[in-house]
Symmetry: C2
Amino acid sequence: MKIGGKQYRAIWPGDDLDCVEVIDQTRLPHELRIVRLGSAEECAAAIRDMVVRGAPLIGAAAAYGIALAVRADPSDASIARASALLLETRPTAINLRWALERMKETLRGLTPAKRADEARELAGRIADEEAAACRAMGNLGAGIVREAWERCGKTRPVRILTHCNAGWLATVDWGTALAPVYVAQEQGIPVHVWVDETRPRNQGMLTAWELGQQGVPHAIVVDNAGGHLMQKGLVDLCIVGTDRTTSRGDVCNKIGTYLKALAAHDNDVPFYVACPTSSIDWTLDDGLASIPIEQRDEAEVTHIGGIGPGGDLVRVRIAPVGSPAHNCGFDVTPGRLVTALITERGVCPASKDGLRHLFGRAS
Amino acid sequence: MKIGGKQYRAIWPGDDLDCVEVIDQTRLPHELRIVRLGSAEECAAAIRDMVVRGAPLIGAAAAYGIALAVRADPSDASIARASALLLETRPTAINLRWALERMKETLRGLTPAKRADEARELAGRIADEEAAACRAMGNLGAGIVREAWERCGKTRPVRILTHCNAGWLATVDWGTALAPVYVAQEQGIPVHVWVDETRPRNQGMLTAWELGQQGVPHAIVVDNAGGHLMQKGLVDLCIVGTDRTTSRGDVCNKIGTYLKALAAHDNDVPFYVACPTSSIDWTLDDGLASIPIEQRDEAEVTHIGGIGPGGDLVRVRIAPVGSPAHNCGFDVTPGRLVTALITERGVCPASKDGLRHLFGRAS
């Protein structure tokens, strides 16, 4: 997608073979800074510190991390070490594990001498496939947006609420939840996006920035506002991403997603989850009981960064001294609250049968 | 309640007769600053700029505003002018209108010469009655907290989630939603309060500060977190305040309250509203359709204040340049999601029958 009219992806191989380049998402939306990652260790640090974030993108970054480790040392031990390091960076998103398993499985069958080229190529392929999956979800999701537009007699923009950032920054390209928005725009369907701020890390500001760069009309709202907007009939549909989806369609996504799903359900607003295959964890059933929820630093709640009066990025303390905070990164939305999953293979109910039927799996 | 061990109220008459003093709530939790308000105009500005905030407190501040106007000029025209000015400051909370009506009704029956003393006395009485109502709600609410404590076999603190600040700062003294917490603490019942940050103005930080000053264990959470905490069984009950309650028990309170009520309902967590009589609007039935929702400045969403690296209070921009924001201050929680209303007269169902029975009103 575009930044200042120029085409970008959220991750790309460096011109020489010994690095991968990413956009530093801790500086956005205030500053565009490109960072070179030259080793598995640097990839792991970038994932941990959320320089790169978003379930599909951290999968791709982890794959490149393995490729860089293999380039430095193609031994089994090197791959195992890099994989363990990368895996422990973020516990909730499943794409990370999925990408690492895929890399390891492919490399295991090769002699060390052949591993470096294959690892680099496969990491690129994983990134390309994520982008293609997003585009496919965009095409399917745009059909849903079009139906909403037709339901209102094409008299006004389709008002879509989203939580967090599941845009192109989170996914290599296009985005998961935002791909339908971008494809709808491409098709001439007018949209207006309600952008949840998404405390504590305010990834909604990344969404607002992305949308602004592509010229999509939008407004930022605090996370508290969505229920009221839905009660007032100002939301036609919700679309969010997912960090892990269970085999019965429970969706683990950024903290607060569950609250929006409840409000959508209470107000008969369709609630869609853009769910690439790479985010499905077929080994889990009950999301609430079984998905590990990342506990993060309380300073993310008590402090916040922004542009100060001098034009610099500064960090301010918003909480009173001595008050502790509790910071859980994700919540689980039960499949019963999800209207449908939009996958790159098709749209299906968020249920065991729905997923099984779409993916042709036996019970 | 106490600040640094010293007893305070949120509003009190000045030593001389020509002012009222308040704590500047725009500086909290970072700085304790007392402000003198010397006229109805200054009272109106303090309410509009949220130097004083919280439905019961703005009622008391408006009453003192009338008293100051009457001291300067006791004519009918002066009272009408001051009342109109004060009424238009905040559209949602009903206490403001209630206090102004009560002042006007009493003063109307008096000759101008007698009005100044009576106005000052009545404003003081309104403040005292609010404090007494809060203490009464605290006693009733503490009984509910005690029951929760007994239900868990007195093995751990009762975990209470609250949204916004409905503490003593919002109400003259004790608070509405926090009064049960303070009375429970007085009675030796251990409590732990989950404090919703309450974007965009972060009144949760006032709650955290209040609780810290009274030594009540608590943790700040982002507004997104409450649903997850309830899903995980970490919330025993919710208690919130109200800015306006309709005759059928619909509750208009700070934006985001509705989302927490939905989550409480979905997880069988009791959801109580501390509702002083002064917040009931008997003229309205359907809260969603009829209560005016204040639209506030979008800069409250795009910017935030905090303590910067130099120790000063600074304001930072968190949103990308060019992204608009939408800022609605309140939402309406339908009575069906409210377990009960805690009023100073007793606890009752949030329904037409419940309120009618408690207040002995005919239909």
